[in-house]
């Protein structure tokens, strides 16, 4: 049993590391190895989801490595491995011979392996392990084409932003230990901590999750992450990295609620992100940027679900979104390499250029729009039912965000289904790349029944969250009707931009200026502080030491000049005095006997006098 679980995480991690270590020499083997590992991983994940193994190994003092697969982890593991397989199939069909394929496939495997560690982790240290490695591999993947300074910078932005949020997990670990009741730091026991540590743990976990999931106000890194290769975006936005934060919140469900304030913060951050990033998505003129903003918005629904206690809805949203979004990014990538652009205006008629890819894109975009009877429609209503129980305003915000999804999806569709423009340099989309999209398109359709009884009850049982509110029929009808109306209106208005004041429109197109704000408010001051610290180091601390040394030297010179000379003068004076005395002492030595006699008499007289006086 435990071998299964170790194999599940080890297969992608080890094969990925080996590919990376082999380097360019393994370029020809890389697609095959990557696909083999991804296939094996999918099989292992399915097996693990059914058998639900657990395993442990000693790691730190009292903090073992514990991996466990329960219903939630099992579904996530299957999603992760499935999405990895789909993305790798697509990249194997599409990647050129000159590419550094060993590096690409190796990093993709590491990336997906670390996501698997994250979703199977049963304790906080292990989760953090997978969590941070995932961040680092995303850096390497976004900066895959490292010769371009822009991409290198984007990779740094993504890693630093997510790591800033990750600090929350480091602090949460320490606070959970200090809070007591959970010496092994298991994820399930995080809410056992005493106050005030409980709030500390909650804050740490929530911040880390929101950062990883690109929620407000840290959404901007996802816009930059678009500069990575399209297959990277397809995986990063669907089943790894971005959804890791939502997963963490769904996993630690009782924790935010236990603190008394966490669930509201989580739910409303999710709703606010879904709304505002939905508006951002509507305002984009670049397909990949539109999709990226929609990822933030759709992940916002999952976060909302976690905050509203609608675990089943959140998980179904996650899985359905993974299928739709990976497909959308893969097609966008295919169009980018076939037509040389990702700007919506220039993508007119792209769907007609390669009808099969266009059809797949349409299915996924309609799913994203939340149209009935596609899977995201049902999943979203499931989680909005939880929001309705929490409060009508949360439900209204969620519904408004759902309408925005319909608007931006219809906008993308409108452009790609325009009559084609002549494209002299266009290349066809390779057939293998299109074929690999079929399972994801099917998943977009096939997941819908899971949101309805009787399958819904089974899913809820697997996830260990029975008794969550199910939507009433009017809720399903309302959301389907709203989505359809919004999509139809957008289509009818020829996807013209919303009539907004110039400043607002620019703000939305520029992702609410979040990155500029982070640069102004954080990065700039830190860099200035660093420069000041360096100047302080050189001008004050180091100079103080040098001054001390100089002072010692000056003291030595003073000793040499003043003290040494005066001592020497004293010695010379003593010598001179002695010499003078000696000269005087020579005076009596005349060599004449009578004088000696007188001296002797005088001396004896003196002696006698002394004797007499002393006695």
């Amino acid at each position: 049993m435990s071998a299964l679980l170790w194999a599940l995480v080890a297969v992608p991690l080890v094969s990925g590391a080996l590919l990376l270590a082999a380097g360019r020499a393994a370029d020809r083997l890389a697609p095959g190895t990557g696909l083999a590992a991804a296939t094996a991983g999918t099989g292992l994940a399915v097996a693990a989801a059914f058998r639900q193994p657990e395993t442990a190994a000693p790691f730190l003092d009292g903090l073992p490595v514990r991996l466990a697969v329960d219903g939630l982890s099992g579904l996530l593991a299957v999603t992760v491995t499935g999405a990895t397989l789909a993305v790798l199939l697509h990249s194997a069909a599409g990647s050129g011979a000159g590419e550094a394929r060993a590096r690409f496939f190796g990093l993709m495997l590491l990336f997906s392996g670390s996501m698997l560690v994250t979703v199977t982790a049963a304790t906080l240290p292990v989760l953090l392990l997978g969590w941070e490695v995932m961040g680092a591999t995303s850096w390497a993947l976004i900066g895959y084409r490292w010769r371009d300074p822009e991409r290198a910078r984007a990779a740094g932005t993504a890693f630093l932003t997510t790591r800033a949020a990750d600090l929350g997990l480091y602090l949460a670990a320490g606070a959970a230990l200090a809070g007591g009741g959970n010496p092994a730091l298991s994820l399930a026991g995080l809410s056992a901590a005493r106050e005030p540590w409980l709030s500390f743990v909650t804050a740490g976990v929530v911040v880390a999750a929101l950062g990883k999931s690109a929620q407000l106000p840290l959404s901007f890194w996802l816009s930059k992450a678009m500069l990575g290769p399209s297959p990277v975006s397809a995986l990063l936005h669907s089943a790894a990295m971005v959804v890791a934060g939502a997963y963490l919140l769904l996993r630690t469900g009782p924790l935010p609620a236990a603190s008394g304030w966490g669930d509201d913060v989580v739910a409303w951050t999710g709703a606010a992100t879904a709304l505002s990033l939905g508006l951002v998505a509507v305002a984009q003129s670049d397909l990949k940027q539109l999709l990226a903003a929609s990822t933030c918005a759709q992940t916002g629904f999952m976060v909302l679900a976690a905050g509203a206690g609608a675990r089943t809805g959140g998980v179904l949203q996650l899985i359905a979104h993974a299928a739709a979004k990976s497909l959308l990014f893969l097609v966008a990538g295919s169009w980018l390499s076939a037509l040389g652009t990702q700007r919506l205006r220039e993508l007119r008629g792209a769907a007609r250029h390669s009808p099969a890819a266009g059809a797949a894109f349409t299915v996924a975009a309609l799913t994203l729009a939340g149209l009935a009877p596609l899977s995201l429609w049902a999943a979203k209503d499931l989680l909005l039912a939880g929001a309705l129980r929490t409060g009508p305003w949360l439900y209204a915000a969620g519904l408004a965000a759902a309408v925005l999804s319909a608007v931006y999806s219809a906008k993308a569709l409108w452009f790609v289904w325009r009559p084609p423009v002549p494209r002299p340099g266009a290349r066809p989309v390779p057939g293998g790349a299109v074929a690999s999209l079929v399972p994801q398109a099917l998943a977009c359709l096939a997941l819908t029944p899971l949101a309805f009884p009787p399958l819904l009850d089974r899913v809820a049982r697997v996830l260990g969250s029975p008794g969550e509110p199910a939507p009433r029929p009017w809720e399903f009808a309302l959301s389907a009707g709203l989505a359809l109306t919004a999509a139809a209106l957008t289509w009818a208005r020829s996807a013209r931009p919303l009539p907004l004041p110039g400043a607002v429109a620019t703000g939305l197109a520029e992702w609410l200026f979040l990155e500029r704000a982070a640069g102004r408010l954080l990065v700039g001051p830190v860099l200035r502080l660093a420069a000041a610290a360096a100047a302080f180091d050189d001008r004050v601390l180091d100079r103080a030491v040098d001054t001390a040394a100089t002072a010692a030297l000056r003291c030595a010179r003073w000793t040499d000049r003043v003290a040494e000379r005066s001592v020497d003068a004293a010695v010379t004076a003593v010598a001179a005095g002695t010499r003078a005395l000696g000269r005087r002492a020579r005076r009596p030595q005349t060599g004449q006997l009578h004088q000696y006699l007188i001296q002797a008499v005088a001396a004896f007289a003196l002696l006698a006098a002394v004797l007499v006086l002393v006695r």
Partner: protein, 501 residues
């Protein structure tokens, strides 16, 4: 066996001078490598025979200056064994790295072997005067390494290093004498001093002795504000010298905290622990911030040492708080501190050797002179990338194991200080990513030689032989740290028991 481990390198170093002057340099180089490999094998044997249940082992005593209470007394426990192993590994790496060295090889080899003896002797010493002697001799040997084989301004930097750390060692000696005088009968033996706790109940005396010892060790560690000797020494030192200086010599300071200050002055340590935590946090943040402002790669790495050693100081300070914290947390903090010493030794050693590789090809450490080096030297770029990510505390490498333990163990006792110190890993992430982006990524640009473009060959076999095992060890410690922690954990519990007296 321990005595052999300590003195074999010095014993080989002396006859090296007896060799005729015409002896080919290659003979000397290989003697150097073989001795270092032998030392590593010896320390592995020691480790294999070490009982993980704890306590001092391989103890040896000899009469030395009995009249003054000074004896030759060596032994190892879970605090010193990892550092002995680290020392042997780093010296072997430096010997391999120097296989292409051409300047006065015989002298360099002899000096490094002598330096190895002083480092091993210090970590094995169980007598304060023996400790002090090795402490000072290591400064002397390192002075000659920097002055003799360094870059342009080496003389000045070496002198600054020597005078600063030597002054620190004098403070240390004063503290030792204070301990000696307090013990009855007078002795310098560490084991006896630890048992007797001579300054229990004498707060003022204890504080003065702790101040003297603390300043002496803080200069060596180095902590803010006693760190300004470090950047010039590193920038001017040859790569192998820098690797040893940062990898081994800095550990002497923090090792002294764990070996001498904490167990021998438990009362004073607990009373003044907050000051240490403050100094530690200042070192973490100041070191990281100043490193972020550097344009010189080697100077940047040097400042990250201040940052990384700051975590150790935070941990040993936080571990002193007894009230309201679990024993597990404190044990994690101390174990994390020892792990951090080993981890920093491996990673900073690797980073300095890689800096040396870069300098050897481009003749400058200025980051702005390079761009896109990955295009011409992919293996070098990969190794540098791995070393940088390991150094910024990525899980899967030893730095994470160390820093996670430190933060998790220190947060309970010192929440504010630890929350501030955690920012350090974000700053280091920023500065390493910036350095990688500047030097390795982007369009290719290399500093020109006089008149002609310089060739920039990828990493050579002997350089890779030196760097790869260090990084490999960091991975092993990051993935399967039990073999190290099994040794360290009993020792850190012992230190904490002694501290709680």
């Amino acid at each position: 066996m321990l005595t052999a481990l300590v003195f074999v390198p010095a014993a080989v170093a002396l006859p090296l001078f007896a060799l005729p002057r015409r002896t080919p340099a290659s003979v000397v180089r290989w003697v150097w490598v073989v001795v270092c490999a032998f030392e590593l094998a010896l320390v592995v044997t020691l480790w294999a025979g070490y009982e993980t249940t704890g306590g001092l082992q391989y103890e040896q005593r000899a009469r030395w200056i009995p009249g003054a209470g000074v004896g030759y007394h060596v032994g190892v426990d879970g605090l010193s064994l990892p550092l002995l192993a680290l020392t042997c590994l780093l010296f072997l790496a430096c010997a391999l790295y120097s296989l292409r060295e051409t300047r006065r090889v015989r002298e360099l080899a002899a000096l490094f072997l002598f330096l190895e003896t002083t480092c091993l002797g210090l970590f094995a010493a169980l007598d304060l005067i023996l400790f002090f002697v090795f402490f000072d001799l290591s400064i002397v040997a390192m002075y000659f390494v920097i002055a003799g084989w360094g870059h342009r301004q080496a003389g000045r930097a070496a002198l600054k290093f020597f005078l600063y750390t030597f002054t620190g060692s004098l403070a240390l000696l004063l503290g030792f004498i204070g301990l000696y005088l307090a013990a009855a009968p007078h002795t310098f033996d560490m084991v006896e001093l630890t048992e007797r706790n001579p300054l229990a109940g004498r707060a003022a005396y204890g504080a003065v002795v702790l101040l003297a010892i603390g300043v002496g060790l803080a200069v060596k560690t180095p902590t803010v504000p006693f760190h300004t000797w470090l950047p010039p020494a590193h920038v001017e030192a040859p790569a192998a010298g820098s690797a040893i200086l940062a990898g081994v010599l800095l550990k002497m300071g923090t090792y002294g905290f764990l070996r001498i200050a904490m167990p021998m002055l438990p009362g004073s340590w607990r009373r003044w622990a907050l000051a240490l935590v403050v100094v530690g946090v200042l070192s973490v943040l100041h070191g990281a911030l100043v490193a972020l402002a550097q344009t010189d790669l080697k100077r940047m790495v040097a400042y990250t040492s201040v940052n990384h050693m700051g975590y150790v100081v935070v941990a040993v300070g936080a571990a002193a708080a007894t009230a309201g914290t679990s024993a597990q947390a404190r044990s994690l903090a101390v174990t994390g501190a020892v792990t951090q010493m080993v981890s920093h030794g491996l990673l900073t050693g690797a980073l300095f050797l890689l800096c040396g590789v870069l300098y050897e090809r481009g003749r400058t450490y200025d980051m702005a002179s390079y761009s896109g080096v990955a295009a011409v030297a992919p293996v070098f770029a990969a190794l540098t990338g791995v070393a940088a990510f390991a150094s910024l505390g990525l899980p899967g490498f030893s730095g994470f194991v160390a820093e996670f333990q430190i933060f998790t163990g220190s947060l309970g006792p010192r929440p504010v200080a630890t929350s501030l110190a955690v920012l350090g890993i974000l700053l280091t992430a920023g500065l390493f990513l910036r350095a990688l982006r500047q030097v390795l990524m982007g369009p290719l640009r290399l500093p020109d030689g006089p008149g002609t473009p310089r060739a920039f060959p990828d990493i050579r076999a002997h350089e890779a032989l030196a760097v790869v095992p260090l990084l490999g060890m960091a991975v092993v410690l990051g993935v399967a740290p039990r073999f190290l922690l099994d040794v360290v954990e009993p020792a850190s519990r012992t230190v904490l028991e002694l501290l709680a007296r």
